[in-house]
Amino acid sequence: MSRKMNNQEEFRRDAEVSACRLIRHPEETQEQKLHSGKNKLIVNISPHLHKDESVSKIMWMVVISLIPAGIAGVIIFGLEALQVILLGVVSALVAECVIQLLTKRRITVLDGSAFLTGLLLAYNLPPKVPFWLPIVGSFFAVAIGKQVFGGLGQNIFNPALVGRVFLMASWPKHMTAFTKPLTYDAVTSATPLAVLKEGRVLEHVSNWNLFWGIRGGCIGEVCIFALILGALLLFIRGYISWHIPITYTVVVGLFTYIFGTKGLFSGDWLFHILSGGLILGAFFMATDYVTSPLTRKGQIIFGVGCGLITAIIRLWGGYPEGVSYAILMMNAATPIIDRYTKSRIYGTR
């Protein structure tokens, strides 16, 4: 079939394409589907990365780019944060191993994706959570967020975020108990966004504090500097493109600027961009290949959607932070976005 020829010819390394939509036997499934009369074109045209090594490389690269944020988290919150990170990562690896053994699928623990899921989940937790929390969360994230869909490349939702909202709904007390930064003891303190949501006045938190991470919050989200270092690495190496994260951030900034306070056009947009889990979410979770749209146009829609929902929840919703929910909702919309923004296949009208 001429279409098939074109697809295979355009096999070139392009890190932005959905690397993780691994189709097990690309040639036959494509044929079957084209012949099946269903007339549903798979949007992921060229290139298909058939090689597993490339997926692995991307995953580990993202893990490496997240290391600065982890180090910063441990410095700011102490060794308990390290414990959470280790528990999260190890549980995720164990969960993936066990489930793949039980379901007799190929063991892919070394491809870095379970490691990444555990890491991101841990980064989304407060530093002083009980030891079992990251374990349960990681298990849930890997099992329900990923394996139940058939493994990497087939999950619809970001697994780390699935784990996070599950933990948030199940044990809200633990998930909202934040500690004071740089004190290494059990003094609780609310995050800046939580203070704002309760209507209290924000004291002692300047934008510089937010940038360096001197504030209450989740382990991996607080140090914007470290996160930006990691994000730059991914940008330079071409692993993520600007479309989703920049659109997301700009929309949040714009929306909070316009609607942030009682009068219009006077909101503190810089505060909103730097606080909460926005930078972590926009650059490392919303950009996940598998759960975000393929095309440029789709990605921009995705970024705008995430931004709007995040800003709306922050300003008018019951929760102080909306990043996790926004990304998950847009994950759900991704198949539809993909369908309506699909690119042309070369050689066809």
């Binding site: 379901t103 007799k104 009980p130 329900i144 139940v148 599950f166 709904a169 199940s170 044990w171 809200p172």
Partner: protein
């Protein structure tokens, strides 16, 4: 006799209304937070199912096809009202616990679903056993789901605290938790049925 028994059994396993036919989800999600509520709802629904299936089977030849659904609704609503008044009289605590979901048995998909799919095409006796089987199947499903949700979601079951250090997962008290439990149970049943890969 064997035939009637198999009509009854089918509602429990093969065509279980919750797990196989996927009907009656709204009350299942709302009511399965505790085992006592689940049992109470199950019994009330079984009563309504029995009554409505029987009456519909009796009147199926008299009712004109074009207005059959409103007619069935009237029949169902009558039995629901009887059930509601009985419950208010003899176990007001349960009535308060189940709240609006008792009158909402009128819109329980299972009841109208069986009237439409079965009772209007079958004999009175068959419909009776079908209604009984569906009701029991529904009740058993409710018990299973609420046992899990109550034990893991509140740490207690039927008033007994399970383990003192155990921190219950609140999500199970919410409808998402219920959906999760049903999904996982369905997967588990598939494993039992041998649908492995």
């Amino acid at each position: 006799m064997k035939k009637y028994f198999s009509e009854f059994l089918k509602g429990i396993i093969k065509e279980n209304p919750t797990f196989v036919l996927v009907l009656g989800l709204c009350p299942t999600l709302a009511v399965s937070t505790s085992v006592t509520n689940g049992v109470g709802m199950g019994i009330a629904a079984t009563f309504v199912l029995l009554g409505s299936n029987m009456i519909v089977a009796m009147i199926k030849n008299i009712v004109p096809d074009r207005i059959r659904i409103p007619c069935f609704i009237v029949v169902i609503a009558t039995f629901v009202t009887i059930a509601e008044m009985t419950m208010k009289a003899y176990s007001p605590a349960l009535d308060r616990a189940l709240g609006i979901y008792v009158p909402l048995i009128v819109v329980n998909c299972i009841v109208l679903g069986r009237a439409e799919a079965y009772a209007q095409k079958q004999t009175v006796l068959n419909s009776l056993f079908d209604g009984l089987g569906m009701g029991v199947g529904f009740t058993l499903a409710l018990i299973l789901i609420s046992a899990i949700r109550e034990a893991l979601g509140t740490g207690k079951i039927l008033g007994f605290t399970l383990a003192h250090k155990f921190e219950p997962a609140f999500v199970l008290g919410m409808p998402s938790g219920a959906l999760l439990v049903i999904g996982l149970l369905l997967g588990f049943f598939n494993v039992l049925k041998g649908k492995r890969e």
